[in-house]
């Protein structure tokens, strides 16, 4: 399975980076930008590597990440 897009809702994401930690494929990384609370949110490093296992969605405490399947 392949991901078409990985959407991070910048209003919801609290920059905890749990998604980054649980991703088995290192698809995600930390961005240099801060969100409105002054926290760093994740960014997609390598969309192609994503296997749509949705562990990031399962573990995200804030429903802030969504993987759109191809």
């Amino acid at each position: 399975m392949k991901a078409k897009e990985i959407i991070i809702d910048r209003n919801l994401c609290k920059g905890c980076s749990i998604c980054i930690h649980v991703c088995p494929k290192k698809t995600l990384g930390i961005s240099e930008d801060i969100n409105e609370y002054g926290l760093f949110y994740p960014k997609v490093e390598d969309l192609a590597s994503c296997i749509v296992c949705r562990l990031c969605e399962l573990y995200c405490p804030d429903f802030a990440i969504e993987v759109v399947q191809e």
Partner: protein, 261 residues
């Protein structure tokens, strides 16, 4: 598989939540929702009851079912009245370790004893988070918290063990690392006829993190490595009790049938 979007559209009242970044409470909300969804039960037959604490906010206001946000320590007693008054409801209590075993320990004991058919999900973050990181009945011996600045002189309670001893029908312990097991366990607990209890170790980066000197990622790693089905004491996870015995609500209904004749 369930997506975040599906969950947000169907099960969550509003976001962002009030939890700190990296707090396990959001994961537990996520797990409860997935369990309810998997079971395909009508949301209108589910009622959530909680006390006071960060964890009490998991269902109230986020979970889109009838929710009763009660006083500190008392959700199980409220839930008992609600369940007995309307046995059709699947009543889920979400309670903190302080709420359920500190001030509310007695209600937990007696709900387990009387085997009332409600589900209690207890979020164990090892202290009182909402009020600022004070010692709880679950805080390790000698740990430093805001009210044990020189170390906790008391010992921590093995809550699952006590609830089992009190007579619960279902008792399990998981952590926020064990999301899939947790979800399946919640499903089972909700469908259990008698009293069911799930303890979930959860990371509180803000206070527990300070006590343990870990950040939330380290805590998740700790959950993964240290908490195992073959571990001992408080580190042992898994299902501890899974039995059938007469449930209070049913017993009352049977009694009414008998007496009314």
């Amino acid at each position: 598989m369930i997506t975040s979007r599906y969950i947000k559209e169907n099960y969550v009242r509003r976001l962002p939540s009030a939890f700190c970044p990296g707090c396990g409470d959001g994961q537990i909300l996520n797990a409860i929702i997935r369990a309810i969804d998997h079971l395909k039960i009508d949301r209108k037959d589910v009622a959530a009851v909680s006390g006071i604490g960060c964890s009490a906010w998991i269902p109230s206001p986020y979970l889109r079912v009838d929710s009763l946000h009660t006083t500190h320590g008392r959700p199980i007693a409220f839930a008992t009245g609600l369940k007995v008054a309307n046995p059709r409801l699947k009543v889920i209590v979400v309670s903190g370790d302080g709420d359920a075993t500190g001030i509310g320990g007695n209600h937990l004991l007696h709900a387990a004893r009387s085997n009332v058919g409600i589900t209690v999900i207890m979020v164990n973050n090892g202290l009182y988070a909402m009020t600022g990181g004070q010692v709880a009945p679950t805080t390790p011996h000698e740990a430093k918290t805001t009210t044990t600045p020189y170390g906790n002189p008391a010992f921590s309670l093995d809550v699952s063990r006590v609830v089992a001893a009190a007579g619960a029908s279902y008792v399990a312990r998981w952590t926020t690392w064990h999301m899939n097991q947790l979800i399946r366990s919640i499903e089972k607990a909700i469908m259990k006829k008698g009293f069911s209890f799930i303890e979930v170790l959860s990371q509180c980066p803000t206070y527990e993190g300070r006590m343990l000197n870990m950040d939330h990622i380290q805590m998740l790693e700790w959950f993964k490595n240290k908490f195992r089905e073959d571990a001992d004491g408080i580190y042992k996870i898994g299902e501890f009790v899974d039995i059938e015995k007469p449930e209070l609500t049913e017993e009352l209904e049977k009694m009414i049938e008998r007496v009314k004749k």
